[in-house]
């Protein structure tokens, strides 16, 4: 193998961007790996005697799981197994007798990977290296080095692909075998297993996750994006190819004078901002959550059931029915926003305003919302229509604006755009919120709906107030037959 010694540290750190997302994770894993191998605080790494041989430098899966639970404050073994398996899948630990890189909570033996092979070295080994590796495995007559089925298939494929230069590959494999033979027997056992684990990461068993796959959005940030690929076996880069990376056109921009000036302006604006105390913020967040608790299907079981759990769509069918539930009606009372968000609530509010002959405010607000949702092309014409309907002199649905907003809006209409009525809309919204909305909540129309359905399952439907009256009269006239009175109602 091309590596100098077992102890050689991380290769070529100048290649790597220490801040890149992958490196952050690798460093955390490496910290764990270092701690877990510590002589006093780590797991015991032993040589185990087995049949006629010795198995050097191993730990058991359950030792690893126990250590993880204790040192990473994990309560559930399943979680420890999961993170342990990920550490294995990334190539930092491996089972000595299996190609599949998972962690088991039992007596299975695991070994630690050599730092030379760590993923943080940004290996992207070529198929030529892999071919050399598989080839040399077939040259050595050891049962433990026998190729698995998928490896034999891979080798056959590579032989076809590299038919022309197979002689070269064969020679390289022979050279590697020679180098390996010079090493001490125990050391070779360990190195062989580590080399195999390396390839298990980069050429995983079919069906296993390939943890070397990268998020393409993050690829560009490596300092050397068109990375020259290192050979595991020290080959000259005759097969150099480029990483399939999206064209790197931008790295983090350096600050110009303008940028900093802008930042200073921004910071000054922030300093002027009036902020809320944390205690008040906390109360507000808690209050909101408390208020909506009943509406959160993850916290309060929806009536009659959660469709996803019961496979019954009744919950959704009720939502689109004509009759809003009491719970839904109650929500309209939380804020004007909630009433406006729900089409049924909005309609009821509109009807109420019509009964007060002040619907022009809401109609204006709705018209402006609609304006903002139109295609750009339609905006100027629609803006003019809104002006004519609500604001122009003698407008049919004249709204009441303060002179300042009126002036601003009038100016905006000279070059009408989606935001021409922002000030006006804001003013009208505040007006509705403080005035009409509160009256709406106290109105019969709203209260009837809110209180009408106390027992949704048993109610037949809303009774008219007259019916209620005659019933109560009937009840109070116990024993007396005043048919005349009843009939006249």
């Amino acid at each position: 193998m091309a590596q100098a010694t077992q102890d050689q540290g991380v290769m070529g750190t100048s290649d790597q961007d220490e801040d890149s997302p992958n490196m952050i994770v690798y460093r955390k894993i490496e910290d764990i790996i270092t701690r877990i191998q510590d002589e006093t605080e780590g797991v015991p790494i032993r040589t185990v005697k087995s049949f006629l041989t010795k198995i050097p430098s191993v730990v058991t899966g359950s030792d690893i799981v126990q250590w993880l639970m204790k040192n990473l404050s994990i309560d559930d073994p399943a979680e420890a197994i999961h993170i342990g398996s990920l550490i294995a899948a990334h190539g930092y630990i491996f089972p000595i007798s299996d190609h599949a890189l998972t962690l088991k909570d039992d007596g299975t033996f695991y070994r630690f990977q050599a730092p030379y092979f760590w993923p943080s070295n940004c290996w992207e080994p070529e198929n030529t290296d892999y071919a050399i590796y598989l080839c040399k495995r077939t040259m050595q007559n050891k049962t433990r080095l026998e190729l698995a089925d998928y490896e034999a298939e891979n080798l056959a494929r590579l032989q076809r692909a590299f038919a022309r230069k197979w002689e070269f590959i064969f020679m390289q494999a022979e050279a590697q075998v020679k180098i390996d033979r010079k090493k001490d027997k125990t050391e070779r056992k360990i190195l062989d297993s580590q080399e195999r684990a390396f390839w298990d990461v980069h050429r995983p068993v079919p069906g296993c996750v390939n943890t070397t796959e990268m998020d393409i959005r993050k690829c560009r940030r490596m300092k050397n994006p068109q990375r020259v690929k290192k050979s595991v076996y020290g080959l000259a880069d005759d097969t150099q190819s480029q990483s399939p990376v999206h064209t790197a056109s931008q790295h983090t921009r350096k600050d110009t004078k303008e940028d900093v000036e802008k930042e200073i302006l921004f910071l000054n604006t922030q300093l002027d901002r009036h902020c809320m105390k944390m205690s008040k913020v906390a109360e507000s967040l808690m209050g909101y959550t408390e208020q909506y608790l009943d509406y959160d299907p993850f916290l309060s079981v929806p009536e009659p059931s959660n469709p996803w759990i019961s496979d019954d769509c009744t919950f959704w069918e009720l939502e689109v029915s004509k009759e809003p539930s009491q719970q839904r009606v109650r929500k309209w009372g939380f804020s004007l926003d909630e009433a406006l968000k729900d089409p049924v609530g909005r309609d009821l509010f509109l009807k109420f305003l019509e009964s007060e002959f002040s619907s022009e405010n809401l109609r204006f607000w709705l018209a402006v919302q609609d304006l903002k949702r139109r295609p750009l092309q339609e905006v100027p014409a629609r803006a003019q229509e809104i002006w004519q309907e609500f604001l122009a002199e003698g407008a049919p649905s004249s709204i009441n604006l303060d002179s300042h907003s009126y002036e601003r809006t009038s100016q905006n209409l000279k070059d009408p755009g989606r935001y021409s009525f922002e000030d006006a809309q804001d003013h009208i919204y505040k007006l509705m919120k403080s005035d009409s909305y509160t009256r709406f909540l106290r109105s019969n129309a709203y209260q009837d709906l809110l209180l009408a359905r106390k027992k949704p399952e048993t109610e037949q439907g809303r009774r008219t107030s007259l019916e209620k009256f005659t019933r109560s009269v009937g009840k109070s006239l116990t024993g007396k037959r005043l048919t005349g009175l009843m009939q006249s109602s």
């Binding site: 955390k28 404050s73 999961h82 990920l86 110009t256 004078k257 809320m276 959160d296």
Partner: protein
């Protein structure tokens, strides 16, 4: 205090010093209002019970990594996009595929459902955002009616319709966000300020608001005024890329998920970070976050294949969900909060409730 006049002969260095001084001052001012921690106040809130959240549906059909998904307003349909260029519309309730489009590029990192339910938008390595009207005719070739709306100079990382089918908000690897008119393809507003790729965005939930938040590889989360194009608030406490941002349902706060393996909560009124959701055993990045309807729960999809469920107020983790066999890349709660959907590099989507 009025904005200070910048003298023309000030050097870059002196300006930077000024900026640093202001930053320190700002931090001091904000710290004065930090009289208590959220989780301390939340001690009086009743603890959440045990959760039984399971996979209720598994959607199989993508041939490669699922990168993004979005819910339809009808609470049961979803659109998802994948590394192999496929965009699929599903009825998640029945798990039937209803539409499929093959994009001309791989890595379709962004997709969104139109509010009307009649169209989907998607894009990725093609640097564009395209809108496809959904036809009722299954045989119709959707790709024929495709409309190219947004053009960036690098990959499209996220897209979202505003409250209408007529406008789309996009974010890109070119470091900008942009608002587009769908019909004409015209750029309505662009948003500059991130110093690196923008990876995510979310529109404020208010009926009256005109703001959105974005997160980027510069570790910043910025809040923007859609009308002026200005950045109105900025937060920089994460230690690595911000992969996902999502508003708290009231619109007063937002959560973020980052490659630094934490999720954080930022309050807009306090103008600072108010909670961190992290654990020693969580070392892989959070790729996507979303709130339950009341804002009490924060769901986070992570690169370690799991989903962690956080108690937003108390700051503790209430559940860890296993199931996916590779990274969770995308996660959204359904419009009525009855379930959430996760998409993964294992080619599948799962509905959890």
């Amino acid at each position: 205090m009025a904005a200070q006049e910048v003298q023309p002969n000030e050097t870059l260095a002196s300006l930077k010093t000024e900026s640093e001084t202001l930053k320190t001052k700002l931090e001091e001012e904000r710290a004065k209002l930090h009289d208590v921690e959220l989780h301390q106040v939340a001690e009086k809130v009743e603890a959440l019970g045990q959760f039984v959240m399971k996979t209720r549906r598994t959607l199989k059909g993508h041939g490669n990594k699922v990168l993004c998904m979005d819910w339809c307003k009808d609470k049961r349909r979803i659109v998802s996009s994948s590394q192999d260029g496929k965009v699929i519309v599903w009825d998640a309730f029945t798990t039937n595929k209803e539409h499929a489009v093959t994009m001309p590029c791989t890595w379709v990192m962004a997709c969104a459902y139109a509010p009307s339910g009649c169209a989907v938008a998607c894009g990725g390595l093609d640097n564009k955002c395209s809108v496809y009207p959904l036809s009722l005719d299954k045989n119709e070739n959707l790709a024929a009616k495709k409309k190219s709306v947004a053009m960036h100079t690098n990959y499209l990382s996220a897209c979202s319709f505003t409250n209408s089918d007529m406008q789309i908000l996009t974010s890109s690897g070119d470091g900008t966000c942009a608002l587009w008119d769908v019909e004409s393809g015209q750029l309505l507003q662009s948003f500059h300020g991130h110093a690196a790729d923008v990876l995510c965005l979310d529109l404020a939930p208010s009926e009256t608001g005109n703001t959105f938040v974005s997160g980027g590889c510069d570790k910043k989360a910025n809040v923007w005024d859609m009308r002026s194009g200005q950045c109105v608030q900025s937060f920089e406490t994460h230690e690595s890329d911000i992969n996902s941002v999502r508003y708290y349902p009231s619109g007063d706060a937002f959560a973020s998920g980052s490659d630094d393996a934490t999720c954080r909560l930022y309050d807009l009124r306090a103008d600072r970070e108010v909670a961190i959701y992290s654990k020693e055993s969580i070392i892989f990045g959070a790729s996507s976050v979303d709130f339950s309807l009341s804002g009490r729960l924060l769901f986070g999809g992570y690169n370690d294949y799991t989903i962690n469920v956080w108690d937003v107020l108390k700051g503790t983790r209430v559940s860890i969900l296993f199931g996916h066999e590779n990274r969770v890349s995308t996660l959204r709660v359904s419009p009525d909060g009855t379930a959430f959907c996760s998409g993964s590099w294992d080619h599948t989507l799962r509905i959890w409730a």
